[in-house]
Symmetry: none
Subunit: 183 residues, 4 copies
DNA sequence: GGATAAGCGAGACGGTACGTCTGGTCTTTCG
DNA sequence: CGAAAGACCAGACGTACCGTCTCGCTTATCC
């Protein structure tokens, strides 16, 4: 449907311009040239619209570049390319606030930002263990949390730029930290 | 004033119980046994009340334990002790959503969580550089962002426990990562 | 709309029961089984709701009963039937208090109680002049003010009954007073 | 006390400027250079302050000018001199609205405007009956209501001038109407 | 090819929180 | 010791938004 596209586009624009709080269902509908009921027919509320508008499921095959540092940098670049968009950061900020009230949304959000990446980290660290770069039991979640965490802090908190370069710096430190962990 | 204490206590309780969205000015007033106007006389809105209730300025002298890893672990424990409280995490979640709409609040929030810790990290990393543990030009912000970031992700996103132990793990990886950075 | 009727009915009841001051927008909404926002969507405030509820525009064709006294009595009976209702008197009491603050309301109120009746008095007195009962130049406004005034004083001030019979007494005195005026 | 005078003066000014609704206890206190608590120490609420400020007890000996018309004109002039002041009209408008809620105030107000004048009308009409101008059983209250009513309508409703001349016109019509009543 | 169902724009509605205002009480401070 | 200053409780006010709903109108489908 073309209404979908107009709605999500409008939502993205408003998110980028004024943030989650200021985004209004009526406002989105108006900018999209659509009735409010159309929004609610497709999604179940503001949170879902915003989620759908700004938070596409990411798709990245686990990189296999020959070293943990390189692999982590690739993943970090991917995350940075995502969080670096104002609409994504804005959506995240608002949606996080509603996680407490809505477990369903909390699940979606975690799935989007954590579960999906988890597989990547498991694979990447598994390969690194095979290569002998890290101890076999190294926890992939710690790596995920560190990488995501720093970029998230920059995107949602300090407002500092979230770029692939910054992701790479984090990846470098993290790779070194993990490498030495078991020794 | 004793009204202050009752209000902030009520706000903390409600934050911990139901989160930011569900917290109501009227609800806070009622639980505190206070008139709504008293809230508005002291603060300018829900955001400010929550900020005042949950986000006390932290106070920690830069630790000096002889090694970068130990110092970072101490700082991480401090942050974890803060973010680990449900009220703090709840407040943070909600307030972050309003940062886009209110630059003033954004400033306060950043001041509370970033600026205050920045001095600590500068000192800690400065001492580590003197000791030769890290390169002299090591960026303290990266360390801050990594440490804060991972705990924030756990507190606000995955809901996993935020403990001193987890802080210490992060600190260990980070210290190693930084140590090797310049070599 | 059926909401209108419920709202106005509720407002009339509350007006009659407890008067203007005690009437609350929330109270009206609750009794009408309606949301407060519905009240404000249709009217711009308490004053307008009360006006709409209690002060329907009166409709009376100028009576032509053959004598000034009879015509005035008919008009007086009409006014008495209006002001005699508790809701009307209650509304009037409250709304008059807000006339000073709101010129718009003052205009409405004057239109409702004065302008509408003015035509009647002009016609009635015109016919009486043709019949030779009163001087041609007799001021219709004086008659209106006397008739309305006495009933208003009883309705809003002394709380004495406002009936057609009282209206007739006033009309009788007034008719006689006007008749002789020019002689 | 000099505070009394300042308060009542301030109240009169605000009444004349913006009417009863817009008059605020805090506003009166501020303009009088006095604390709000001082108002409440002397009077029991806004209504009483306004009453005290604008509605002095009237003092008029029953006139005895030889004819009913003249006597009524004298009384009417007295009433007109009172109601003609903006502060008095403004006070009346507001206070009438609170009569329903406060029987005590209703009593005061009626005493001020009705009971006090009643004696006058009884005397005046009694003398007129002795003179043979009116039937002995003529109801003084009707005369009072007509005279007061018309001036009240002008003062509080239409905002037309309330002068002794207008009072005299009413008195003339009324006197004639009463004179003929018994014949 | 005309009935029929589905989608849509428009916007009223119930509900609820917000932040403001005022009335009236009570406490603290100063002359 | 009384008055000024003003904090405080209570609660109504009017606004904004959410999510539901009922209308017609348009469009595609199916008999």
């Amino acid at each position: 449907m073309e209404a979908d596209a107009a709605i999500l586009q409008a939502a993205r624009e408003l998110l980028g311009e004024s943030g989650y709080e200021a985004l209004t269902m009526a406002g989105v509908a108006a900018r999209a040239g659509v009735a409010k009921s159309t929004l609610y027919r497709r999604w179940h509320g503001k949170a879902e619209v915003v989620f759908a508008a700004a938070l596409h499921p990411p798709e990245l095959e686990p990189p296999d570049l020959g070293s943990l540092a390189a692999d982590l940098a690739a993943v970090a670049a991917h995350i940075a390319g995502d969080l670096g968009q104002p609409a994504v950061a804005g959506a995240l900020l608002g949606l996080m606030g509603e996680m407490a009230a809505s477990p369903r949304l909390a699940g979606d959000l975690r799935g989007r930002f954590v579960a999906a990446e988890r597989r990547l980290f498991a694979t990447v660290l598994g390969r690194a263990a095979e290569r002998g770069e890290v101890a076999p039991a190294t926890d992939p979640d710690l790596a995920l949390e560190v990488l995501l965490g720093r970029l998230l802090v920059r995107a949602c908190f300090t407002g500092l730029p979230v770029t692939a370069a910054e992701g790479a710096r984090t990846a470098a430190v993290l790779a070194r930290g993990l490498t030495e962990e078991g020794r």
